[in-house]
């Protein structure tokens, strides 16, 4: 541990900060990513995209492109329509154009797909396609899109006469209104969580290879959910699912970007079927930022009610959710606003009510998260900003106000006003540890001294609770597929094992952590566990990696499968030792006779015996292989306390993050080194989101965030050296007590940064400014003219 923990990490024998198995290939430049694949005869695909945000397509002329000597084929929307593939289902029960047939509805929308013998020629040929557009008025402003006279974007939907997508509500409105009526103090604030993009360093791409002889389709793809993709290809394209093999090789990050099936993937599949050759399609960075999966874009109004002495009574929120041109947002079917209604966060209160309205705009579709735990990011930001504003209204220290209202350990399991049941937690302990690491009281004293000197130093807190590991099949599905995951564990005669899992690492180190889980359960070395993933022909079905669900769901499946193996081993050990199975106990990584520990067998000895001629009891087949499907009984609820210290230059509006303290409690830590790495990543996300990252549009719907020159990501210069701490509160219902951590810091940290900057600017009377707090945005806030950060300044 580099930080501090007030509880020693619990867990099995192989848990600990083990160096990663996968690094041997990565540090040698031998990772195997989709764009590294080169197959004989492979064609390179490129997509022609709309330069305008809203237009009727009068015609598409591909003759000149087809005449290019290196072009093998061109596909248009009309070609796909003949196959019934011009539109595909989204994961939110909407449809999305694969290649546009009638209109284009966002800048960057897919119109035609060219396949050529090299990647440069494919690009050249795009220039030869002639599209005749009749430009229509565009609406990029979610607020204007709801106006009665707004241009109707989705006229493909029968009878659609507005841009409304859905209305959704949670909580008890009457109870919330009563709590507000009884309150001494009510604080309200409008706030925007701007559109952002996960921007993994590797963009999305695919290599599709269709074999016409046996009808098998092999797709190497940047997929966080290879099994779900296989089923989607079967459903969307009518292909027999048993003939489809999805291979997800090493992924260069994902963060939600690589959950959906994108038009480019389908074009490559169709292209391979048409040409009989393998087809590669890899998007460039602008395509990535402009077309595949945005995140956030929530226009929120929040209100918090409290007593004069700082007891929070209730919370209300109304949200306008910009879903872009097609509703492709990713969340369980039952929750159109994801888990946003976990918005009461970490606080004890009587009542809460929220409403969310979804709206179509002429912006890219998606909404597939970005490490957001299904919209809990937006919820945490809302409540943590409101709590800070309440503290200011009550003239209370924001840490003190939080300590007065955080859920107490004795309240768990706790059912919040909108119905979620949190599994376990000790919130005050985590916050006090963060304050201790930060030297909170000393920071406040320093701030007072600096303020007296006219310097603007901020101290910002946030406390978050996430619900991750979706989820119980009875409560949630995606496209009718329950969110359970399988694990297969094969045991070889010498006692080494192969674990096959359904989830897909994008850098989280599954080859190491899942081996640690199995090794701990079986009392064997981590080196004796091989983890197989990312190949639907070699792994059991499961819904993949997003929503921090790998460890909570698939990790549980791995542990359960290993325990089944261990029970089979018990029967074999009993036969070896000629005792009853009940007389054996599992201790020190082996089965031994209760009361006679000398009489025991290691896992390797048992494995060999299981494959030998040893006579086993009737009905016992021998071998030790086992599998499991884990259907989680509940989500798991990680939490944490973050403190961010900033210095703000009021003359330029520049914010420097001086310190960032993070205490995370993700339950049992399988590999603390990897957990800390994940927290580091999320804290950098918080710095980026709060200060830099936004996909902005102009009034015509032009995307102004289409490259890394405009969509700014944090570098080593913006990120401070992070200071971490940990508490460990195991999940009571998870087989190994783990809760998941992949998204925690992304969810929890932006509010700490914004609260810190607002704290710094408090002497100037600044109450709120929207993210990203760029120098221009901060400067304008100081002038009392806050910027609207989702639209280009007019």
């Amino acid at each position: 541990m580099t930080g501090r923990t007030d509880v020693p990490p619990a867990g099995g024998g192989a848990y600990g900060p083990l160096r990663r198995k996968e690094d041997a290939r990565f540090v040698r430049g031998k990772g195997h990513f989709v764009d590294d694949i080169a197959l004989p005869g492979m064609l390179h695909g490129a997509i022609l995209r709309s330069p305008v945000a809203h237009a009727t397509i009068r015609s598409v002329d591909t003759a000149a492109a087809l005449a290019h000597p290196k072009v093998a084929a061109v596909i248009t929307g009309a070609d796909l329509a003949e196959r019934g593939l011009a539109w595909m289902p989204t994961i939110s029960a909407d449809v999305q154009a694969v290649l546009a047939t009638d209109k284009v509805r966002f800048q960057g929308q897919e119109i035609a797909f060219v396949m050529a013998t090299d990647r440069y020629a494919a690009r050249d040929a795009l220039e030869l396609i002639d599209v005749d557009y009749e430009v229509l008025p565009a609406v990029a402003d979610a607020l204007l899109a709801m106006a009665p006279d707004a241009p109707v974007i989705r006229d493909d939907l029968p009878g659609k006469q507005d841009n409304h997508v859905f209305d959704w509500a949670a909580g008890d409105k009457a109870a919330a209104d009563a709590a507000f009526a009884a309150a001494d103090v009510v604080v309200a604030q409008d706030m925007l969580y701007p559109r952002s993009h996960p921007a993994p360093l590797e963009t999305c791409g695919t290599v599709a290879c269709y074999d016409p002889l046996d009808g098998r389709l092999t797709v190497w793809s940047t997929s966080q959910a290879p099994h779900a993709h296989r089923t989607l290809y079967a459903l969307a394209a009518g292909l027999p699912e048993h003939k489809i093999r999805i291979i997800s090789p090493d992924l260069g990050g994902g963060f939600g970007n690589k959950v959906p099936v994108y038009p480019g993937y389908l074009c490559a599949v169709v292209g391979s079927m048409i040409t009989g050759k393998p087809v590669k399609w890899v998007e460039d960075r602008s395509e990535n930022l402009m077309s595949t999966s945005f995140a956030r874009d929530y226009h929120m109004h929040g209100e918090i009610a409290a007593t004069r002495d700082g007891k929070i009574l209730g919370l209300r929120a109304s949200v306008l959710a910009d879903h872009g041109a097609f509703n492709g947002t990713a969340q369980p079917t039952q929750y159109p606003a994801g888990f946003f209604h976990m918005f009461t966060g970490s606080y004890d209160m009587q009542a809460a009510h929220c409403t969310v309205t979804g709206v179509y705009t002429n912006k890219a579709p998606g909404g597939v998260a970005y490490s957001c735990s299904f919209r809990i990011t937006e919820a945490v930001y809302l409540v943590e900003r409101l709590v800070d504003l309440l503290a200011r209204e009550l003239d209370l220290d924001p840490a003190e106000l939080r300590l007065r209202n955080l859920l107490r350990p004795d309240q768990f399991p706790y059912t919040c006003p909108t119905g979620w049941t949190y599994d376990s937690g000790d919130y005050p302990r985590a916050l006090r540890l963060a304050m201790d690491i930060a030297g909170y009281d000393e920071l406040r004293r320093e701030q007072a001294v600096r303020r007296a000197r006219g310097e603007y130093m901020g101290i910002g807190l946030s406390f978050f609770t996430e619900g991750v590991g979706a989820g119980p099949k009875s409560q949630m599905d995606i496209l009718g597929l329950g969110l359970a995951d399988g694990a297969d564990l094969r045991v070889h005669p010498t006692g080494s094992v192969v674990l096959a899992i359904s989830v897909q690492t994008q850098g989280q180190g599954h080859e190491t952590t899942f081996a640690q889980i199995v090794a701990s359960e079986l009392g064997i070395s981590v080196d004796d566990v091989e983890v197989v993933h990312g190949d639907t022909d070699r792994t059991p079905f499961g819904m993949g990696t997003y929503g921090s669900r790998s460890t909570p769901v698939s990790g549980a499946a791995a542990a359960v499968a290993a325990r089944r193996v261990r029970e089979r081993a018990r029967i074999v050990a009993a036969a070896m030792l000629e005792v009853a199975a009940d007389d054996l106990e599992w201790a020190d990584g082996r089965w031994q006779v209760r009361g006679d520990p000398e009489q025991g067998r290691s896992f390797a000895q048992i494995a060999m015996a299981a494959h030998s001629g040893l006579e086993l009891p009737a009905g016992v087949e021998g071998h030790l292989d086992a599998s499991a499907v884990y259907n989680p009984p509940n989500l798991t609820f990680p939490f944490g306390a973050y403190i961010c210290v900033t210095d703000v230059d009021p003359g330029t509006g520049e914010v420097r993050v001086r310190r960032f303290i993070a205490v995370d409690d993700c339950g049992v830590r399988i590999n603390p080194m990897i957990v800390e790495g994940q927290v580091h990543r999320g804290l950098a996300d918080g710095v980026g989101m709060a200060l830099m990252q936004a996909i902005v549009f102009d009034a015509e719907g032009n995307c102004l965030g289409g490259s890394f020159m405009d969509y700014l990501l944090p570098t080593s210069m913006e990120c401070p050296s992070f200071e971490l701490g940990a508490t460990v509160t195991p999940s009571p219902h998870h087989p190994i007590g783990a809760k998941g951590v992949g998204e925690s810091a992304t969810v929890g940290s932006p509010a700490a940064v914004v609260n810190s900057v607002m704290d710094a600017l408090a002497p100037l009377g600044v109450r709120h400014a929207d993210m990203p707090l760029t120098p221009a945005s901060v400067w304008r806030a100081i002038q009392g003219r806050p910027l609207r950060t989702d639209l280009a300044a007019s």
């Binding site: 540090v27 990513f33 590797e202 963060f255 790495g677 990543r681 490259s707 890394f708 570098t715 080593s716």
Partner: protein
């Protein structure tokens, strides 16, 4: 046009289009896929290689510009199977997660340590400030490079 480029000590003579980017020459023509392409705009540095001993972003260098010059890529970092201390440092300090930015980061780190064997954390941050990592928050990359600085000279 014909180019002669020395890559990792071997001279390669190839007929290429004048517009061919060095990153695509390395990856597509020579099959050296350790260097990655990430952004097109010289912002991310996944494509960093050495050109005549200086780190460059190979997505914005034409192959033609490398004619008659030396290129060094991540595939040349280890020596006869022995990892460079920078490679060891990244594995030792969890300086990578997805591994996509790692080759470029390591090439910059190797150059830094060749010119400043005992850098401060701030100097490491400045050296990699033209590159993007989406996984580590940079903290462990800095630690990895400092680890390598401490373990230069053969031992670990």
């Amino acid at each position: 046009m014909q180019v002669n480029v020395t890559v990792n000590g071997t001279v390669f003579t190839r007929e290429v289009e004048p517009r061919l980017l060095l990153i695509h020459f390395l990856r597509d023509e020579l099959g050296l896929t350790g260097s990655h392409w990430g952004c097109d705009t010289s912002n991310c540095g996944a494509c960093v290689v050495w050109l005549d001993d200086v780190p460059v972003k190979s997505c914005t260098v034409l192959t033609a510009m490398a004619d008659g010059r030396r290129v060094r890529t991540v595939e040349d970092l280890d020596r006869g199977g022995q990892l460079d201390p920078v490679q060891q440092g990244f594995a030792e300090c969890h300086g990578l997660q997805c591994g996509f930015c790692t080759p470029g980061m390591m090439m910059t780190a190797r150059w830094l340590l060749d010119h400043n064997p005992d850098p401060s954390a701030e100097q490491v941050r400045e050296a990699i400030s033209g590159q993007v990592c989406r996984c580590t928050g940079y903290e462990n990359i800095v630690r990895s490079v400092l680890w390598a600085a401490k373990h230069e000279g053969g031992g670990t």
